[in-house]
């Protein structure tokens, strides 16, 4: 839209009519929200497709195992590649989007510490459960429960209910996997995380348009 470069327009709004103003206000608001979004919907959709593909590939290879032995040597590079690409893309996109933005919405070091501690605690708990012979300790979804709950609690403290819901949904996927068996847990992880990511993306699109 051309708002007209005339001097009257530029300084006192003489030829800047209310319809143009309303259109410019909407456009600027939506564009800004889109530009500063650290997790844009397209990235979430890509991650959703990737997690579904990676976990489905593992599920296809382990579903015939009796007894369950876990992902095969061929699956490991797929999982590692997924984690590395996911992490790198997420950090790069978030860094670019939030360049020059600072303040309350940025994660504080203490919150990053809580997230890191939650993953470490999850690994320790899963290892302890495995040592105690608990069957579901080896399920991939079990690892999601503690970080999901920790993220939900951190975001609840910020009153960020969308991200709090994401954390809870991840924890629910983790619990659901317990009932799916060792091979089925891979399918639950892929499908569950895919739905969580797509739901998150849809919520962001709605907020950007609101």
């Amino acid at each position: 839209m051309n708002h007209g470069p005339g001097p009257a327009n530029a300084e006192n709004g003489g030829h800047f009519d209310p319809q143009q103003a309303a259109a410019l206000l909407d456009k600027t608001t939506q564009e800004t929200r889109r530009k500063i979004e650290p997790t844009p919907p397209w990235l979430l959709a890509t991650r959703a497709a990737m997690v579904l593909a990676a976990c489905s590939a593992v599920w296809l290879s382990v579903r015939g195992q009796h007894p369950y032995r876990g992902p095969t040597a061929a699956d490991i590079p797929v999982l590692v590649a997924f984690i590395v690409i996911n992490f790198t893309a997420t950090v790069a996109v978030a860094k670019r989007a939030t360049a020059g933005v600072s303040g309350r919405s940025r994660l504080r070091p203490a919150e990053i510490g809580v997230a890191a501690l939650a993953w470490a605690a999850a690994v320790v708990v899963v290892a302890a459960l495995a040592a105690a012979g608990v069957s579901f300790s080896l399920y991939p979804t079990t690892l999601l429960i503690i970080p999901g709950l920790a993220w939900a609690a951190t975001m609840a403290a910020r009153a960020d209910w969308r991200r709090c819901a994401t954390g809870l949904a991840v924890a629910v996927v983790g619990v659901a996997g317990v009932f799916a068996g060792p091979a089925g847990a891979w399918a639950v992880a892929g499908l569950g995380l895919c739905i969580v990511l797509l739901g998150n993306g849809a919520a962001i699109v709605r907020r950007q348009r609101g």
Binding site: H3, P18, Q19, A21, L25, T32, A99, V101, G103, R104
Partner: protein, 99 residues
């Protein structure tokens, strides 16, 4: 049309873009001068002129900080600025509904 009900300080395309951009930030966030300039597409001189007008009216708050060794200017909408934009948006709605 009663365009005079619209805040003349905001009812200028460039300043409306500045205020709308800052209002779209999450509550409590500030934007660096360079990122704002990049988003609005103005020269530094032009942007400074508009920011000064908004700051004089108490609509925005700018702060100089040190980011490592380089000084950085950050800009944020004040509570008054948010109220002024809300009043402006309401006035726009009323004008457009009367069309």
């Amino acid at each position: 049309m009663a365009d005079d009900t619209l805040d003349p300080l905001i009812h200028v395309p460039t300043r409306l873009k500045i205020v709308a951009t800052l209002a779209a930030l999450p509550d409590g966030d500030v934007l660096s001068f360079t990122r704002l300039q990049d988003m609005i597409g103005l020269t530094p001189g032009n942007l400074i002129i508009h920011l000064r007008r908004l700051e004089e009216a108490g609509y925005i708050n700018s702060e100089k900080t040190r980011n490592g060794t380089a000084p950085q200017t950050t800009v944020a909408l004040t509570t008054n600025g948010r109220k002024a934009l809300a009043a402006y948006t309401q006035a726009l709605r009323e004008l457009l509904s009367g069309l």
